[in-house]
Symmetry: C2
Subunit: 246 residues, 2 copies
DNA sequence: TGAATGCAAATGTCAGACAATTTAAGCTCA
DNA sequence: TGAGCTTAAATTGTCTGACATTTGCATTCA
């Protein structure tokens, strides 16, 4: 049986796959130096530019880093969760914007994942993470804050909540869901009234976390989800009215 | 204030960032054709190989695709969730293997996220997804199955569960967590006895999903998590004994 | 000893050429 | 006219060779 799409891959793609597999399988370990571009071009029987294109592909995925100079070369990268965040967020954001994901679906995913962290976070959040949440709540209460800054602070609040679960794998997976929502959230105009309601819910969430009350955290998160969806629905309804004034 | 590491980026990295930003900001829309490599090298005042390295970087992130021929060129890619899975999984797998994430932490993240899907999946799973789960359960009951194949079937079962939530954003985020666990799971040797226990739990989960009983799904998932961690703990204890026979 | 210098190795960049592929226009012939 | 073939043009893929730049190390000289 043929594969569905056995495209005759470019040489640089083949070489990149070859090296990538070696890294994933563990044949090449972290900080190990790859052969020089000249050596690789000999090994794979291709020219140096082709090898370079392959290496750039891997560099784009943060699988390798390159260094110039006598002892330079390409080295297998140690990928930290910190390093992987931006790429995860970029991809998630593009996925949302390119796939006609409705606000409600994205919102549901985000709050479903956040609620999953509630119990862990209630049990484990550090004093520092709680302080971060309180700080963000205070920032949100400043009337001079722009809508974008309000959204950014909202994201910071929720990331502190997620980080409170003390599980880096969870934090990483959720970073995509939380941050990717920001462009969608930025479409909402936050009135003084709606800001007050959100801040109130944030405070209740922080209080419940401080008290270690997981079910209260989940409950308030659900209320926040409903309120956010209501705000979004209002925005879309108003837009439709303006665009299509029957 | 200086940035922490304002590395003098390579030209190809700069050009890639330039084009990437244009795509993310929406200046370049899906399926739009980029200028030819020759045009780009003129615009950016660099040579063609340099432009090509930049384009390969973008291709590695699935941001563009290239096509040869008269009407060919580089086109902005439509990134589907399907396309993004492999990269998400590769990155997640590497993150786990390179960051000394313990089995328990990864396992906790995975089952926490899966439990989050339980309620939605109990309400929305299609008959098709339920059938997939039953099929995988049957496959798992074949004694001739290798440990690797058993793990792969386990992953397929859990992905069907997650997909049952009917939220593509959730499915995408969880794919990383579920699939990235597989190399860790492969370290476990599944005895006939442990296989039976897992299959029993899988059946209970499928039954609860069929009945639309969310809390039962969550409960059985928690049992499965505990059992998995116990199996892993046994493996590690045995290894330690062999390695370090005091 | 220690600092300056030069060398060697490696990546970064450039220029030009040819190969391969694909489309579309043009041409031939029934 | 219309179908089929041929050719040309555009574009990416690859190669060759060269030079620039950066960096570590050995060497040399005060």
């Amino acid at each position: 049986m043929k594969k569905s799409a056995p495209k005759p891959a470019d040489l640089s793609a083949k070489i990149a796959k070859n090296i990538r597999d070696a890294i994933i399988s563990g044949a090449l370990i972290v900080d190990e130096r790859l052969p020089s571009e000249a050596d690789l071009s000999e090994q794979f029987n291709v020219s140096r530019p082709t090898v370079r294109e392959a290496l750039k592909r891997l560099a784009a995925q943060s699988l390798i880093r390159t260094q110039r100079g006598a002892t330079g070369g390409a080295f297998v990268n140690h990928i930290s969760f910190q390093d992987a965040y931006p790429q995860q967020i970029t991809t998630s954001t593009l996925l949302l914007s390119m796939n006609d994901v409705s606000f409600d679906v994205a919102c549901e995913a985000r709050y479903t994942l956040e609620r999953a962290c509630a119990a862990l976070s209630a049990a484990r959040r550090t004093a520092d993470q709680l302080a971060t949440m309180r700080t963000e709540i205070f920032r949100q209460s400043q009337p001079a804050l722009s809508d974008e800054a309000f959204c950014a602070s909202d994201v910071a609040f929720h990331r502190a909540l997620v980080d409170g679960a003390g599980n880096p794998v969870l934090s990483y997976q959720l970073a995509g869901a939380v941050e990717a929502m920001q462009p969608l959230m930025n479409m909402i105009t936050f009135t003084a009234r709606s800001r007050a309601a959100i801040i109130e819910l944030h405070s209740q969430i922080a209080d419940a976390l401080e008290a270690g009350n997981a079910s209260d955290v989940e409950r308030h998160l659900t209320e926040l989800e409903r309120y956010t969806q209501k705000l979004a629905a209002d925005v879309f309804a108003r837009r439709k009215t303006v665009k299509d004034p029957s």
